[in-house]
């Protein structure tokens, strides 16, 4: 029974991967993401410069004319180097905050959907209240209360995304638990815990996976926004949003300091959005248009 299950799952995964191969936007997204991951891992090998070393003698150097390919910023730091190192920060924020929302969202959604009744009602009421706060506002408030820092930004982004994960999980648990196999396993004496985590959860993974992929992109956008408002990373961290924020005074004099960090955010988020779109098409046939 178990091996058969595994085989079936494997072939499903294979089929999904095969379909994903035919999905051009998803491949583009995947390539973008992998490139940024490589950038993050091998940052020191990709650039001869240091991200935080200042050199006033070469400040605001224009791009494409020297060894500083994307130019330098107002303190003479190499812009490309800062963008490369910035990928470490953005990907970390993306992964950790999605990790936070995923862990709690999964647990809450699973409990709420599985047990139903008053447990479900109380949890959903609370989730509704959290959803009554516009997402970015909730994030800003949490981080403002905890104090501005990169770690707090991750926590805030993670917390404010919990409700949407909980909802997605709950919806698929509700649909899944009516299936015959759940009844069958229950009648064979499976405990609640076994049913929740071993039987139902693995079958709800698809929509959660899509949501998490989208979530990484969203988290990167939010962290850039928080840093832009001075609530996230603090100088001289090479965080993309912070780089855009500190470039504000140079809109009249040095376009590259404004432009390139924004393109880095845009590309990364685009990568995750493309991949998520592709995953949704493959994993969730109902969503296909």
């Amino acid at each position: 029974m178990d091996t058969k299950n595994k085989l079936e799952k494997n072939s499903l995964m294979k089929e999904a991967l095969f379909q994903l191969k035919g999905n051009k936007p998803a491949i583009v997204g995947f390539v973008i993401i992998v490139s940024f991951i490589i950038m993050a891992f091998f940052s020191p090998f990709l650039t001869p410069f240091e991200p935080e070393t200042q050199d006033i003698s070469i400040r605001k150097m224009a791009p494409f004319i020297s060894s500083h390919i994307l130019g330098t910023d107002d303190l003479g730091r190499d812009l490309l180097t800062r963008i490369i190192y910035g990928s470490r920060i953005s990907l970390t924020i993306g992964t950790i905050s999605v990790g936070i929302s995923l862990t709690f969202g999964l647990l809450i959604g699973l409990i709420s959907g599985y047990f139903g009744g008053w447990v479900d009602r109380i949890i959903m009421r609370f989730i509704d209240i959290m959803l009554a706060f516009p997402y970015i506002l909730l994030t800003i408030v949490i981080v403002a209360l905890l104090g501005p820092s990169l770690i707090n930004a991750m926590i805030a982004i993670g917390i404010s995304q919990i409700p949407s994960y909980a909802r997605v999980v709950r919806a698929s648990v509700l649909a899944e638990k009516e299936n015959d196999y759940v009844m069958a396993e229950r009648s064979l004496g499976a405990s609640d815990k076994e049913l929740m985590f071993k039987s139902i959860l693995p079958n709800c993974i698809a929509p959660i996976f899509v949501q998490a992929t989208l979530g990484v992109g969203n988290a990167i956008l939010s962290s850039a926004a928080l840093s832009f408002l001075g609530l996230g990373a603090q100088p001289p961290t090479p965080e993309w949003g912070l780089m855009i924020a500190s470039s504000r005074e140079f809109v009249t004099s040095a376009w590259w300091i404004v432009t390139f960090p924004g393109i880095a955010v845009l590309l990364t988020v685009l990568g995750f959005n493309l991949l998520a779109d592709g995953l949704r098409d493959v994993l969730d046939p109902r969503m296909k248009s």
Binding site: L145, L229, I244, R248, V258, V269
Partner: protein, 338 residues
């Protein structure tokens, strides 16, 4: 119908109560003493104690909560610590700017978004379709504040077409009537034939509205496309076509009308989000709205102002969602029956 609306309205009270409660406890239980934070690290203990007393922070938490609820029900949001003014008055002064910006951003994104979505659906799989959907995807992947800066760089600094910020040329002084400057300008134009106010207001509106409207525009375009594709596949459209009805009429009169349902929901949801998204756009464009005001309140740890601002924005958000839900049930009877 009325039963459905009443049911939705009855849910509103506990939600708002929950919002107020959550805001109160989030701020009350946040690490650090608000009085100490407000006065700075070097303030002497006596001053801190005095402020704590003034703010009622020396009372037990539940008493504070009860007092707070009592005040909020009477629409008294307390006094701003920074300015000493009533929070409700400050919000009243800043809200119209945000509403006006959000309305124009929404008008822009709805018109352009539906147009692009319909076009993509009709020309499915053409280069127009791929091009606009790719652009839409780029649109949702962009940091809004960055786009705003790029706009300023290109259209204000380089081409000198639009102002870099503000709501109005400071040379024109006038007493706001509604607080919505374009509307005020229109009223003045009718009253005295002076067009300078409305022109200046519109001129200042263009860049912020487009920047703020970009994400909703992209989302509306994507939803319109998929909703239209679904409807266009249905039999009655084929029947209409085979009956020889003009294509334009089939699309706008028969298809779009039915495709509008999900679009309405998205528009409503986006409008609510715009109010809070404005915090970034307003900061970049020096737009004197609620978002920028709230940002400064957060920056200076002006807790009564922060509490009031969040409550007002969230309440507006909840109310807009409610209106959307009701509208939706009016056009789609299936919802209220289930």
């Amino acid at each position: 119908m009325i039963k459905y609306i009443l049911k939705r309205l009855s849910l509103l009270v506990p939600t708002l109560f929950g919002v107020i409660t959550l805001v109160f406890f989030m701020i009350a239980l946040a690490p650090g003493d608000p009085a100490r934070v407000m006065l700075g690290e070097r303030a002497n203990a006596q001053a801190v104690e005095k402020l704590r007393h003034e703010l009622g922070l020396d009372k037990p938490l539940l008493t504070q909560y009860g007092l707070y609820l009592k005040r909020v029900v009477k629409l008294d949001l307390g006094k701003s610590i920074k300015t000493g003014q009533k929070v409700s008055e400050e919000i009243r002064d800043h809200f119209p700017a945000t509403i006006e910006l959000a309305i124009w951003a929404m008008i822009f994104s709805t018109i352009v978004g539906i147009f692009i979505g319909v076009l993509s659906a009709i020309k499915k799989n053409s280069w127009i379709d791929f091009g606009s959907m790719a652009t839409a995807l780029v649109g949702v992947s962009m940091p809004v504040f960055w786009l705003a800066l790029v706009f300023i760089m290109i259209f204000s600094v380089k081409l000198d077409l639009f102002p870099t910020g503000g709501r109005m040329n400071i040379r024109f002084y006038f007493t706001p009537i509604t607080g919505l400057y374009v509307l005020d300008g229109l009223i003045i134009l009718f009253k005295s034939g002076d067009s300078s106010i409305i022109l200046s207001a519109l001129h200042h509106m263009v860049l912020p509205a487009i920047a703020l409207g970009t994400i909703p525009l992209a989302i509306i375009a994507r939803i319109t496309r998929s909703s239209m594709l679904e409807v266009l596949n249905q039999d009655y459209i084929k029947t209409a076509r085979s009956a020889g009805i003009k294509e334009r009429r089939v699309i706008y009169r028969y298809a779009l009308k039915n495709a509008l349902l999900p679009i309405i929901t998205v528009i409503g949801l986006q409008f609510g989000l715009l109010l809070s998204g404005a915090i970034l756009t307003e900061t970049v464009f020096a737009w004197p709205g609620l978002g920028k005001w709230l940002y400064h309140a957060i920056e200076s740890r002006d807790y009564p102002a922060v509490q009031g601002g969040i409550i007002v924005i969230s309440t507006t958000f909840v109310l807009i969602n409610l209106v959307v839900d009701i509208l939706y049930s009016v056009v789609n009877p299936k919802i209220r029956l289930s």
